[in-house]
Structures are given as C-alpha cells and as structure tokens.
C-alpha cells in the first residue's frame, strides 16, 4: 500500500515543518506549499487525498483555496482540513460553507491532527 499523499499549505515555516514532520512520521507522503496559489497548483497536479490548509495565508487565502478546489471538477473530491487561529462560530461556519471537511483550531496537537486526518480518510472510504 502506497503512502497517502497530503498537501500542507501554511505560510508559517515552523508550523509547516511541524505538520509535515508529524504526518510524515505517521506514514503520509507530504507535499509542502507556502502560499495558496502554489498549493492549488500542487493539488491540481498531484491530486492528493488530503489538503491541510491554513486559513490565514497571504495572496490566495485558505477559504478561497478551498472554494477553488471544490469548484475544480478534477480535484473536488480532495479532503480539506482547515487550520486557523480564528475559531469563532462565524469563522467555523465560513470554513464549512467554503467546503472544508474539518476545521482545526490553533494551537492543535500534531498527533490529534494526524489521527483526525486518518479518521477522515476512513470515513470517506466508508461512505464512498
């Protein structure tokens, strides 16, 4: 079984490395993106199972990136996990409205993030 492919989009270098390290150790194949447009290209090119996206990125932000993934026929099935420092009710609703599958608030436990991604994948396989 090949390692599931994950795109991690995060402008904060430290958090990007943190997520990439955890997911890498947990058996994911991780592709890193430092801003939204680059992430969108990666998603379109490599068709990952999961995209872990930071909401507050310069340029194309996480919400817009999610919308574009959902609008693209070829990659709309990608699982989207949003990471954000803003997690009020309104923010969460915006995230889900954009099409996110999971919404994780900073600071988060990398282990729990990894577990959540696994569960999300299992659920997806289970449902379809």
């Amino acid at each position: 079984m090949t390692a599931p492919l994950v795109v991690v989009a995060e402008d904060d270098e430290d958090i990007l490395l943190l997520v990439a390290t955890r997911l890498g150790r947990d058996g994911f194949d991780v592709l890193e993106a430092r801003e939204g447009r680059q992430a969108l290209e990666l998603v379109r090119e490599r068709q990952p199972v999961v995209a872990v996206i930071d909401v507050g990125m310069p340029g194309l932000d996480g919400l817009e990136l999610t919308r574009q993934i959902r609008a693209d026929e070829s990659v709309r099935g990608t699982l989207v996990v949003l990471l954000t420092a803003r997690a009020q009710e309104a923010d969460v609703r915006l995230g889900f409205d954009a099409g996110a599958d999971l919404y994780i608030r900073k600071p988060f436990s990398p282990t729990k993030l990894s577990t959540s991604v696994r569960e999300l994948m299992k659920r997806k396989i289970g449902s379809g």
Partner: protein, 584 residues
C-alpha cells in the same frame, strides 16, 4: 457676618425700657391735660430716653459709637427744648426752645448719615438715587404745603425763617431715614425700632406743622413724640444695634415690585401736588413743581436705565453660564463616547492579540509534543523530558489565559452564543470533577461529588463545563492542603442548582458581590500572593447569565467559600453583554 449675629447678648434692658416707656407714655394720657405733672412726665421721658441712648452705647459697645452719641445728643437737645417749651408755655416763635429743637435735628441727621457711611451705604449709588427720589418728592410736598405758605405768611423774617426751618429739618431727617433705609445695613430689631422711631417723629412733626394752632399739650401728637423717644432709646439699648454700622455684603440689585412702585409714586408727586393745589384753589407753586418734577423725572430715568443695564448684564451672564453648561455637557458626552470607544478598542485589541498568540503557541506546544513523542528515534533522557513537561504545562497555562481574554472580549462585544442541548447536570458535574481530580490530589485536597439523580437542563455543555472547571480550579487554588472541595448538583421542579464549596481562605467582607467583576482580585488572594487575572469568575458569571441563571458567592460557616449557581430548566438564552456599562 454670621459671627456677628451669633454673639448672644442681653436683650432684656431694651425690652424692659421699651415696656416701661410705653406704660409711662400711657400714663401721660391719664394725667390731667395741661397739668404741670403731665409736662414734667413728658420731660422725664425725653431726658431719660436721651440718657438711655448713651447708656445703650456703653452697654453694647458698637464699633463706631459716634452716630449713637449724636442720636443721644440730638434727643437730649429735643428734651431740653421740651423743658423750655413747657417752662415758657407755648412761647412765641422764635424762642430758645426752637433753637434747641432745630439743633437736635442737625445731630440726628448727622448721626443717620454717619451710620449709613459706616455700613458702606455711600458706595451704593443706585440705592442712594432712590433715597434722593423719595426725598425730592417729600421736599416738594413740604415746600408747597408747609414752607411756601410760611415764607409768604405774616410775621418777622426771624419768625418765618424759624417756622420754615422745621419742615426743612424734617426733609433732611427724611432724607437720612430714606438713605439709611434703602442702603440699610441689617434688618435687625434695632433697625426696625429706629425706623419706627423716626417714622413716629416725622408723622408727629408733619401733623403739627400742617396745623400748629390745633396743637396743645396732651394732644395725641405728644404720644407720637414720646413713642419716638422710647423707640429710639430701645433701639440703642438692643444688642443688635452693634450690627447697624457693620458693612454688609452688597446683594445684587433686584427689580422688585417695591422699587418700581417707588419710582412710579415719585413720578406721580408733581401732578398730585398740582391737582391738590388746584382743588384747594391754592397757589400752584409752578417753579417748585416744575423744578422738582424735572429732577425727579431725571433721576427716575437714570434709575430705570440703571435697572435695564443691570438686567442686561444679568441676561448676558445667564446666557454665558448656559453656554458654558452646554459646552461642558457636550464635552462630557464626547468624553463618554471616547471612553466607550477606547474600551471597545481595547477589547478588539485583546481579541486580536489573543488570535496572534495562537500561532506561536501552535509551534511551542506542537514541537514539545513532537519532542516528547515516545516513538522518536533518539528518545530524550528523563531530565530533558521533565524540562519539556514543565514548558508544556506552562504553555497550557498561557493558552488558558489567551482563551480567557478572548472569551471576555467576546462577551463584552455581546458575541457569546450558546449551543443549547439537553444535558444531565449531574453527569456534567461528574465530568468536571473527574477532570479536576488529578490537580486536586496534587494539591492534597479531597474532591467529592454529590447529586440527587439525573437533573436535566437545556444548556451549552462546553460552556457549563468551562464554568464548573473554573469554579473547581479556583477552589483548588484557594484551599490550603488537606482541605476539601464539595461539588453538588441537584434539581427541583423550578430549576437546577450547582454548588462548589471549599474550606479555603474565604472572602473578605463586602467582596461577595465584587468577585464576579472583571479583573477583580480578592484581598485574601492578593495578601497570599496567589496569582490570577481576575477573569475566571467574570467568565463564570457571563456563562450563567447567558443561560438566564444566577450565580452568588458566600462565606461558608466554619471557613471557606460556597459558589452557588441557579439555572432555569430551560435556558432563556440571552447574550451576556457588558458593553453598555459606560454608556449608562
């Protein structure tokens, strides 16, 4: 000025003299009219009164005794004149009695003027103007009805001059009285007695002057003169006479009905005199009437314009004051708005900072977790592990603080939204107790839970858990080792109650209400240097109030504190907002 009034002085000599004087005056009329005994009694009253005035000066010791000594002298001259008048029995004018009488007037008028000056009345030009108007009007009467007929009458020049001098003296006396009256120092008893005495003297003089042939000893006019003596002496004996020569703070001129009436009456004098003379078919005295009318009109006009100017000044001052008040009000409102804005800005700032603190915290906490990962290829030794665990614990504390700040900012912005579901309060309490047990055990405390079966309420599970965790962690913080913390959850038909009791340091008096205020720190906590931000209980109250419930704190018998929360069975969701506190 109150100091002067407060000095207690003996009023008895004054009233004793007054009483005896009035009784003796009454006796005067019981004696045979025209008898020597009557004349002697009259003279005795006069002389005694004059001496009593001098005695009053000695008794009361006014700051300036001179006016009163002049009064005493004036009255003594009158009394001497009375004696001469009685000795010679209605002597022909001019007699020695006349000279004494006229000299008496001079001293009385001088005394009045001095009194007026001592009281600072000479600085009050408007009041003096009014006195002048009255005097001029009176002078016109005196001239037309008394003096002019005398001047043109029969007799030697000396005879006519002396007779004319009386109404002239009365005019001067009235001028003194009017000046004294309108500029007046103090409306004391002594003042009233003095005015009464002068009025009696003037009335008697006028009636006598209008028809001197009708007078004989024992007439009622004598009564008036005697009364004048007695009242004058009483005024001098009364302790309040001291104040008559004390300067008084000038009050603002008022446009009273009394003043306007006075001015109108003054203007009516000349026409009235003309009318009376015309009816009597007497000489019209045109030059005198015209001169007096012109003078009176001129002074009245000056007074009126003075009053108008004063009114205008008053109006301007009032307008300025109103403008200032409005400006102050506007400034206050402005500042209030600024304060509210500053407060909102602060809340927004806190929210922003709280968000921005989350990103570095993600790295700190995340990398600690990575470092502590047991599957790590090169595991940490125990010492480094312990260090990182300490960093981890403190990161949790920092995160808790950031969460609290954000929560408070949200509450204050009115953005606290509840996610309501039916839940069992007993279960929730068990969950909170379970979570807090490790901390309680570390602190050496017994943590117990008591509940009376399932208590179903509609509430926000996460918020209520935060609430209970806050209260329990507070209790742990404020309870010394070997103490106990009891959590109780019980329901009734009307609602549900949660209680968290501890055996801790308790609240200082008066703090039970304050502990729920934002940033409030209890005195006991400060004294023991127990750290905290003063946000936990504010958050607790916000959560309870958002559920439509009530929270209270009270000292427990035997030490410690009990926090009691009452929740309705069905949460009447209401946003807990404090944003209005500054506006109100």
């Amino acid at each position: 000025m109150d100091v002067i009034r407060r000095i207690p002085r003996d009023v008895r000599p004054a009233w004793l003299f007054c009483g005896v004087g009035v009784v003796v005056t009454g006796m005067y009329f019981l004696l045979q009219r025209g008898a020597t005994s009557q004349s002697v009694l009259y003279d005795v009253i006069g002389v005694t009164s004059a001496l009593a005035i001098a005695a009053g000066v000695r008794l009361n010791g006014p700051a300036s005794p001179l006016p009163w000594l002049l009064f005493a002298l004036g009255n003594l001259l009158f009394a001497v004149a009375d004696i001469l008048f009685n000795i010679f029995v209605n002597p022909a004018t001019p007699s020695s009695a006349d000279y004494f009488y006229l000299a008496g007037y001079v001293f009385l008028v001088a005394g009045l003027v001095l009194l007026l000056v001592h009281a600072g009345g000479h600085h009050r030009v408007p009041a003096l103007g009014e006195a002048l108007i009255v005097t001029l009007a009176f002078a016109l009467f005196q001239w037309v009805f008394l003096m002019a007929p005398l001047v043109r009458g029969e007799g030697s020049v000396a005879h006519r001059a002396v007779l004319t001098a009386y109404p002239a003296a009365d005019t001067l006396l009235l001028a003194g009285l009017a000046g004294f009256f309108v500029t007046a120092a103090w409306r004391t008893v002594s003042f009233q007695l003095l005015v009464g005495s002068l009025a009696a003297l003037l009335v008697a003089d006028e009636v006598y002057g209008l028809d001197r042939n009708a007078y004989s000893n024992g007439s009622w006019i004598d009564g008036m003169w005697l009364l004048s003596y007695v009242l004058w002496a009483t005024a001098a004996l009364h302790p309040s006479m001291r104040e008559l020569s004390e300067p008084r703070r000038v009050r603002r001129a008022r446009v009273s009905r009394w003043r306007i009436g006075l001015l109108v009456a003054a203007l009516m004098t000349a026409p009235t005199v003309l009318l009376v003379q015309w009816i009597r078919d007497a000489p019209l005295e045109v030059p005198a009437v015209v001169a007096a009318a012109a003078l009176i009109s001129g002074i009245v006009m000056l007074r009126l314009s003075g009053i108008l100017r004063a009114l205008e000044r008053l109006r301007l001052r009032e307008r300025a004051a109103r403008g200032e008040a409005l400006a102050a009000q506007a400034a206050l409102a402005e500042r209030n708005i600024r304060l509210v804005e500053a407060d909102q800005l602060k809340d927004e700032f806190v929210a922003l900072i709280s968000h921005d603190l989350r990103t570095p915290l993600t790295s700190i906490m995340g990398y600690i977790e990575l470092a502590l990962d047991p599957d790590e290829e090169a595991p940490l030794d125990d010492e480094h592990r312990r260090y990182l665990e300490i960093v981890s614990r403190n990161s949790e504390r920092l995160l808790h603080l950031v969460d609290n700040l954000l929560f408070v900012a949200r509450v204050r912005a009115g953005k606290l939204v509840l996610n309501l579901n039916e839940l069992d309060l007993g279960e929730l309490a068990a969950e909170a107790v379970q979570a807090a047990r490790p901390n309680a055990e570390r602190a050496g405390l017994t943590l117990s839970l008591e509940s009376n079966g399932p208590t179903l309420v509609e509430a926000d599970h996460a918020r209520l858990l935060t609430l209970l965790e806050n209260l329990i962690s507070n209790a742990i913080k404020f309870t010394p080792r070997d103490g106990s913390i009891d959590v109780r959850a019980f329901g009734s038909t009307s609602g549900a109650t949660l209680e968290v009791s501890d055996t801790g340091i308790g609240l200082a008096p008066g703090e039970a209400e304050l502990v729920f205020d934002r940033f409030f720190r209890s005195r006991n906590a400060m004294e023991r240097q127990i750290s905290g931000t003063g946000l936990g209980l504010f958050i607790a109250r916000s959560i309870v109030e958002a559920h439509g419930g009530k929270i209270s704190a009270a000292n427990r018998d035997g030490g410690g504190t009990t926090f009691r929360i009452e929740l309705p069975l069905r949460a009447a969701s209401q946003p807990a907002s404090d944003t209005a506190e500054l506006v109100a």
